[in-house]
């Protein structure tokens, strides 16, 4: 009976739960799904992390390459994020060139990296005007069940904290770079941005960490990114129904709580990885 109701009237089905201040999967309105984090999952990458948010799974691999610095910033390096939504992760994605959602997500990640200054591109410079690092951050979704942006930001942050770059020296005789793979050092992470996504149901009910089904039925979505100092790095609301000032304040306070939880989780996992070795 319930299954039939869900298929025939999905919106009505969700409404009947929201009326009782809970959700079909048993969560409260401001409750996240269980977040699991695995750091260093890909041994061949310079840094990697796998994040699960309920069913949503995102893996991030970071590959560092040497390149010439950009002309407009000779003392800088590059960070190139890319989000991939392969057909494997959900039936809504088709093979072929990246769709709008994947491109919009890539742009969002790039904006968050730039706004939050999680890594300063100056740190990636090896020799001014000659040599710098390019960090390719590839984020791949393995299972899509909503809230892609939150999972991507956690995966990216954890992978960046896990990244170990080899030591590079430029030989004075040949002026060719020499890479010492034995000697590696971590990146300097300046800030810890964490995203928190919300959905608005029926123009009024606010829910956190939406599943794919909830996303498709919602009237608006928004993502709030905060760092450890409580500053906002991004407030991304692509459209949909409007949001009042009080609701926005509610979202921001929930996001600051979430930021602390995630930072604690990342530090705990990093610590356990270190003690294992």
């Amino acid at each position: 009976m319930a299954a039939g109701f869900k298929t025939a009237e999905p919106l009505e089905y969700h409404r009947s739960f929201l009326k009782e201040n809970c959700r079909p999967d048993g969560r409260e309105l401001s409750e996240f799904r269980t977040t699991t984090l695995n750091i260093g999952s890909i041994s061949t990458a310079d840094g990697s992390a796998l994040v699960k948010l309920g069913n949503t799974t995102v893996i991030c691999g970071i590959k560092a390459e040497l390149a010439n610095p950009p002309v407009e910033g000779p003392g800088k390096g590059y960070i190139v994020p890319n989000v991939d939504l392969p057909p494997l992760c959900s039936s809504r994605f088709r093979p072929g060139p990246p769709g709008e959602q994947a491109q919009a997500a890539s742009q969002f990640i790039a904006d968050v990296i730039e706004s939050s200054e999680v890594i300063q591109t100056e740190d990636l410079c090896i020799e001014r005007g000659k040599l710098c690092w390019v960090l390719y951050c590839d984020l791949m979704c393995l299972d899509y069940d909503g809230n892609l942006l939150d999972a991507c930001i956690v995966a990216l942050l954890a992978a960046l904290k896990n990244t170990q770059l080899p030591d590079v020296t430029i030989s004075t005789e040949t002026s060719a770079p020499e890479v010492n793979l034995e000697k590696r050092r971590g990146l300097h992470i300046h800030k810890h941005p964490v995203a928190t996504s919300f959905c608005i149901f029926d123009d009024s009910v606010l829910i956190v960490d939406p599943t794919a089904e909830e996303e498709s039925l919602a009237t608006a979505q928004l993502a709030v990114v905060t760092d450890e100092e409580g500053r906002l790095c991004s407030l991304h609301k692509p459209g949909g129904t409007s949001l009042s000032g009080e609701k926005l304040q509610e979202c921001i306070s929930r996001a600051t709580v979430r930021q602390r939880e995630i930072q604690k989780l990342i530090n705990k996992v990093l610590h356990s990885v270190k003690t294992d070795q």
Binding site: S115, R231, L235, G239
Partner: protein, 222 residues
């Protein structure tokens, strides 16, 4: 047809803006919108037949295409398209045209800052010109926070570059609520609230301009 210019004084400073509606013959609705040196053309086609793969059974499919001044649309344009499309979807009454397509094409002529807000304004004016049913109007306002913490509305490209944070809001005409936000740079909660308040004030001027320009247009034809 109706060309109008407005200069805003008092607390909220906006550059001179102008709009011309129905200046293209082929689209069902068209508008050009100018903010200072930033200029955008918009054209709307529809409601028309929709591709089967994009058909939605209970409402119209809205497609937004943003063409940059040079080169092909890239990832940045895709992200802007998403913002404009979802804002339009919130104000249009799409359920009145099920199984049909609406196409909104935005051509950037020149970008001198506040591009996203100019795109939103051009989109709204062209939708109005096409006579599509809407629940409310919307306008775009861009705010920049400079190094001293001052809020600049409708910044130029040079001001955008020097700013610490940049925010664009889409505001609806009914309750002056925020439909869309897109931000760059880091800022405090207080600064965000201030920027929203300033944008809501600026939106009143834009809505007044919308009203005046449409009134002028129709009083001429009568």
């Amino acid at each position: 047809m109706a060309v109008m210019e407005a200069r805003c004084s008092s607390s909220v400073m906006l550059r001179e803006f102008a709009c011309e509606q129905n200046f293209l013959s082929q689209p069902d609705g068209s508008a050009s919108f100018v903010h200072g040196d930033t200029s955008v053309y918009a054209g709307v086609y529809g409601p028309a037949e929709v591709k089967v793969s994009k058909e939605i059974y209970d409402r119209a499919t809205l497609e937004v295409l943003i063409q940059p001044k040079v080169g092909l649309p890239g990832v940045r344009e895709r992200s802007q398209e998403q913002c404009v499309r979802e804002t339009c979807e919130a104000s249009l009454l799409l359920s009145l045209h099920p199984r049909s397509s609406l196409t909104l094409i935005l051509q950037v002529l020149h970008d001198d800052g506040s591009l996203l807000s100019c795109l939103l304004n051009a989109a709204c004016m062209s939708l109005m010109d096409a006579g599509l049913p809407m629940s409310c109007l919307f306008c775009g306002v861009t705010c920049a926070i400079d190094a001293d913490g001052q809020i600049i509305t409708d910044p130029t490209a040079a001001q955008e570059k020097e700013s610490r944070a940049l925010m664009t809001f889409a505001i609806d005409s009914k309750k002056h609520n925020v439909l869309m936000t897109s931000t760059k740079g880091s800022f405090s909660v207080n600064e965000l609230q201030q920027c929203i308040a300033v944008s809501q004030k600026a939106s009143e001027k834009l809505f007044q301009f919308y009203r005046d320009s449409v009134r002028r247009r129709y009083s001429k034809t009568l």
